[in-house]
């Protein structure tokens, strides 16, 4: 996972950080490290403490206990050193609705004290990179949700930050806009930017992150690559779907014989699923037996457990609560 840059020391170090708001322990002792040039996905449901951690790391919030450092600078005592090195986008950052896309970026560049000419050319570069050239002279209030997020992301990249914090970057976006934003984030990562990404979408962490930290009620409950986390939930599953529900009992018997445990039957979708080891061989066996029994297979396959299933097995509750409405603006 350490893909380059010289430093072997982590660029973000969090040590036993606590933060409470009244009785709510938003962070109850979080420690983690991010290696230079990697993407850490911070995964958890609403209210798990993800945003609180991002706010601590971006100097917006002082921790009650513990310490955190970015590029070796303490986020509390040396925040003026930290700020030039970081970018923040997502639900805690914003764009100014009444300014045009270009004006937004130029203002941010000016507030990084880049100088007028440099600010203008940087704004132009970013507008091109994030496909906002056509909308550059329009006020941000006319932008779609996806365009706003892209502008927000562009604003967070103005000073070419060493560490980029993306706080639920796709929350509230439609699937198309989400895919577009993922592509943009992948490009960023390819250029070597270190990223901390928070998300409540399991697929998003799986798609973008090198390493995933699962957080729940302010505590880290699991950590590892997507593959490692999936392995924790019992390896591969073999799933068979049939169109004729009358055949479900037969399929169940076959999977019980071939699988490593009791199969689960979902009558609503007509699927039967079982954990298997040595999947490909088992798959062939299942196909042969069902063929002999003259059961028509609508679909059959081996799959990794979804991160949702991993989350369920780790926490006892599902990761995605009700969908979160993105309030007006990139709040």
């Amino acid at each position: 996972m350490e893909q380059g840059h010289n430093g072997s020391s982590p660029i973000v170090v969090v040590r036993d950080v606590h933060k409470s708001f009244g009785d709510v322990h938003a962070l109850a002792g979080v420690s983690l490290e991010i290696e230079r040039g990697t993407v850490l996905g911070l995964l958890g449901p609403n209210g798990a403490g993800k945003t609180t951690l991002v706010r601590v790391l971006t100097t917006l919030l002082d921790p009650d206990e513990g310490s955190a450092a970015v590029a070796g600078f303490d986020v509390r005592r040396e925040r003026t050193r930290v700020r030039p090195l970081i970018g923040l986008a997502g639900q805690s950052a914003a764009v100014d609705d009444t300014l045009t896309g270009r004006e937004n970026l130029e203002m941010v560049a000016n507030l990084y004290h880049m100088g007028r000419a440099a600010a203008a050319s940087r704004a132009g570069e970013l507008l091109a990179r994030f496909d906002l050239v056509d909308a550059a002279e329009r006020q941000a209030r006319t932008y779609s949700g996806g365009m706003r997020r892209r502008l927000d992301l562009a604003a967070s990249l103005v000073a070419d930050p060493e560490v980029l914090f993306l706080d639920e970057p796709t929350t509230g976006l439609d699937p198309q806009a989400r895919l577009e934003l993922w592509a943009v984030i992948r490009e960023l990562v390819a250029t070597g930017t270190t990223v901390l990404l928070t998300t409540q979408y399991l697929e998003e962490a799986d798609q973008l992150a090198d390493e995933i930290v699962v957080i729940d009620h302010g505590r880290i409950i699991a950590q590892g690559t997507a593959a490692e986390l999936k392995a924790r939930s019992g390896g591969e599953h073999l799933t068979v779907r049939v169109s004729d529900l009358a055949a479900l009992a037969q399929v169940r018997d076959v999977l019980e014989a071939e699988g490593d445990g009791p199969p689960t039957v979902d009558e609503a979708t007509g699927t039967v699923s079982v954990a298997v080891s040595n999947g490909p061989t088992r798959l062939a066996g299942v196909v042969r037996r069902l063929d002999e029994a003259e059961v028509a297979i609508a679909d059959i396959g081996l799959r990794q457990p979804t991160l949702d299933e991993v989350f369920l097995s780790l926490t006892g509750h599902r990761a995605e609560s009700e969908p979160v409405d993105a309030p007006a603006g990139a709040v």
């Binding site: 009444t98 203002m107 000016n110 990084y112 006020q139």
Partner: protein, 263 residues
């Protein structure tokens, strides 16, 4: 919050430029929000015309023409109402997340509030100029010295600037635009009306007259009238400046503290 030497160095070095950036941003926003333009132009003009023509005949102001009496008062009233926009604007920036953006930038901390107040003060300069122009059209005349004529609108703008700091403290405390608006007008309305803005305070009941006579609004408006009409202005002016200094002494630190405590 830890205040480091580094932070102080950032302030000293970047505050003027950053305040200018925020001023520019807020001025652009004003120009592009029609409702704010109405608030800043049509409403003050309407107030001048309504009060001059509707109440003008009914309010006895002695030997002084009512429009000459009214205009300094209504200038003060407009800059006071205008000052509420400081808090509203800051509250909007908190809810929209812009404040978070600013706070992660290596910019001067003071620039967000100071840039906002500078923009609101600029708008007040414009409003005062506009109202003076309309006043002249419907019969307002200066009767004092040239220095007094120049000083009068300047006192109004300074007064408005002072109240912007109260508004900033409110906006950074309540952090919601609607709440900031209500939390300002609920005390601003009585403050403006229980004063010499629209009527001579002698016409009020005794107990109210005592309140009105000691109001910062009355002192300021009386000073402005003195300057415009060529009558005595020193005493109310000293009182007015003392009030402004006192308000600033309390509300500048309060606004800064409230701004810093946004998390």
């Amino acid at each position: 919050m830890v205040v480091s030497m580094d932070a102080i160095r950032v302030e000293a070095r970047h505050a003027p430029g950053d305040i200018l950036q925020l001023w520019k941003r807020n001025m652009l926003a004003y120009r592009r929000q029609p409702e704010l333009m109405v608030f800043s132009t049509i409403q003050p003009v309407m107030f001048v015309l309504l009060f001059a023509f509707v109440f003008g005949g009914a309010i006895p102001t002695g030997p002084v023409e009512y429009i000459d009496f009214l205009l300094p008062g209504i200038l003060a009233q407009s800059v006071l109402f205008g000052s509420t926009q400081t808090g509203v604007g800051l509250a909007v920036d908190v809810t929209s997340g812009m404040i978070d953006r600013y706070r992660t930038l290596p910019m001067a901390r003071s620039a967000v509030v100071a840039g906002r107040i500078l923009a609101d003060t600029t708008r007040n300069v414009f409003v005062v100029g506009l109202m003076l122009g309309v006043g002249f059209l419907i019969g307002f005349r200066y009767h004092g010295t040239v220095a007094g004529a120049i000083a009068m609108p300047f006192v109004a703008v300074l007064f408005g600037q002072t109240f912007c700091w109260i508004s900033a403290a409110i906006g950074t405390s309540v952090r919601r635009a609607e709440t900031a608006q209500v939390a300002s007008f609920v005390w601003l309305f009585p403050l403006v009306f229980v004063s010499s803005v629209f009527v001579p305070v002698e016409t009020m009941p005794d107990w109210l007259e005592v309140v009105a006579e000691n109001s910062p609004v009355t002192h300021t408006v009386n000073a402005m009238r003195g300057l415009a009409l060529g009558t005595d202005f020193w005493e109310p002016l000293v009182w007015a400046l003392a009030w402004m200094a006192g308000i600033m002494a309390v509300f500048v630190p309060l606004a800064v503290w409230r701004y810093r405590s946004i998390q």
